[in-house]
Amino acid sequence: MLSMTNIPDQKSLSRQLAVAERRNKIKAFVLVVPLLLFVLASFVLPIASLVWLGGYNDTFSKALPETTRLLQQWDAKSPISEELAASFVTELRAAKLKDAAVPTRVATVINREQAGSLSKIKQVLTASDMASPFKEHLIALNDEWAKPDIWHAMKIVAPSFTPRFYLQALDHRITADGTIVSETDDNAIQILLFSRTLMVAAIVTLLCAILGFPIAYIMAHAETKTSNMMLIVVLLPFWTSLLVRTTAWIALLQQNGVINDLLVRIGLIDNDHRLVMMYNMFATLVAMTHVLLPFMILPLFSVMKSIKGNLTRAALSLGATPWTAFWKVYFPQTIPGLGAGCLLVFILAVGYYITPALVGGQSGQLISNIIAFHMQKTLNWSLASAIGTLLLIGVLLLYWLYNRLVGIDKMKLA
């Protein structure tokens, strides 16, 4: 009897527990919602618009919708129709009446595919006698219009959704008949930059590991007071403004800088043969290593501090040489810290912008600098977005790896 009456009670009890647990889950989640929404609005959506813009560009199709339709029907082999020429000229001139900046933007987009198109299109805009038959008038204006090249360029840039920016970011290009060809060696610069960036990141990571390991070791094995002092020496650069540290390297490395002056003064080099250490790859490597070194030292230090000395002592008492004891017993225990530091430094180095931009000159530019270059100088925003998306994918993969191996909640600051 007793157990019979208990059954519904137990059921309602577990239901009540489930309700309470769900309510607690919601309560915890509600606290996170404001930040999550903020991150969504000011980070996730911006990143999404970057990815979107890498594959979408409606500069041409928005200004010249009818021409876009006709270009898509055109097979890129037969001579262009009078209808296409007429639609191109009338829509271009109509766009100019609405907003004078639009035709220039359209012309710039075409010009990126076919150099020299800009001036030809400007001719069309300024020509006074543009009437039917448009095709003949265009050819009379400039016989380049009789050739298929500029029309091919227009056929390529016409579609709003296009893989061409992503292809361009990988040194490939799409032709008017839709085939994908790889870029000639002279124009193939993106892959070169990607590989240069990866190489710089790898070298910086290696340098940081080589320089950081002894520092973390001596800090972890010194007395607390000495260790704290050393920690301040490591943390002061970490806390100092990045621009200040870059300024410092400019003061040190430039041709009339402190190091060159010192070398001349002590007679190691001749005044006329000062070392070129600034505005090149060397400066980028040195300054980046300096900036990122604390990111290697701090995780290594915290791992080394937790390593007990008894294993190494056991190895020594069993007859291992100091080197064997270090390499076979101590070093493997530092791998978690070394791995975390290396991944963190590599992730940060791959996306580095400020230091290469200020001290790198021509040869020390990395992929981030090219993105900024296309954003600010060539104004080819879609290409910048495509390159940025590829870089983003790489960084997110590394971040995922870091999270799997180290755990993002293990990340500590200072």
Partner: protein
Amino acid sequence: MNFFTPNFPPYATAFEIAWYYAFRMICLAIFIFLIAPILVIIPLSFNAESFFSFTDGMLALKPEAYSLKWYRDIFANGMLDPNAPLSLDWLKDSWMRSQWMIALKNSLVIGVSATFVATILGTLASVGLSRPEMPFRGLINGILISPMIVPIVITATGMFFFFSQVGLAQTYLGLVFAHALLGTPFVVITVTATLTSFDRSLLRAAANLGANPLTTFFKVQMPLILPGVISGALFAFITSFDEVVVVLFLAEPDQRTIPRQMWSGLREQISPTILAVATILILLSLVLLISLEFTRRRMERLKIESFG
């Protein structure tokens, strides 16, 4: 073994003794590599000439080779009448028109507002994240930390596109949002770290004694995690105060901040005024480092007290 006066055991070989000293020399060299570039700036900022290097006079410690003129230039550059005698009017002129003063004001306004937003949102989220019943903790944590990992150029580019669409580009509000976003991961990391050592039974005790959740948060939890919140806020502020890429992409030409002013100084007209500014910033980071160390010690003391 004592650090500076080692007692070598009698069986130590000559090689081991040599390595002991060599290793310390190597470490010393790396420490010099870390700290020397920063220390070199300080004397250089007192250079009487407009060089980025030591002059003969400076090396001979001649007083006339040193000057404060680059510090004066921080205040004077951009003033209507920089040569006027030092008075209240001079200070007012400097505060209103000096390029660096305008940049400082912009940096402070943006930095303080961004820190405010980042600290409130970040602390709230950390309290939620550290609750044991939090769903999708790993995923959400990953999303919240990602602004720290994604290269700044990508973030700035995306913000430029999106903020232009919604009318936030070239506004102070847009810059505050952008900098707040970059600061939130630091707040989340430090506050979550503090909360892991927070004794949750205190919350139940407070509730048991009749406190409502808000009272419990402000009277019990907040005072105990305050050091973590403060250091998170310091991180958020320094992130904003040192940020230049987002400002370059999003700000109007006259929305200059200190880092942007330094950036254009380094790219265009290199002058030792930058070294003077850099020296001030180094002192500022020293102050921040010390205050962080202070909050850390306080946190450790609290930890001992709450367990004791």
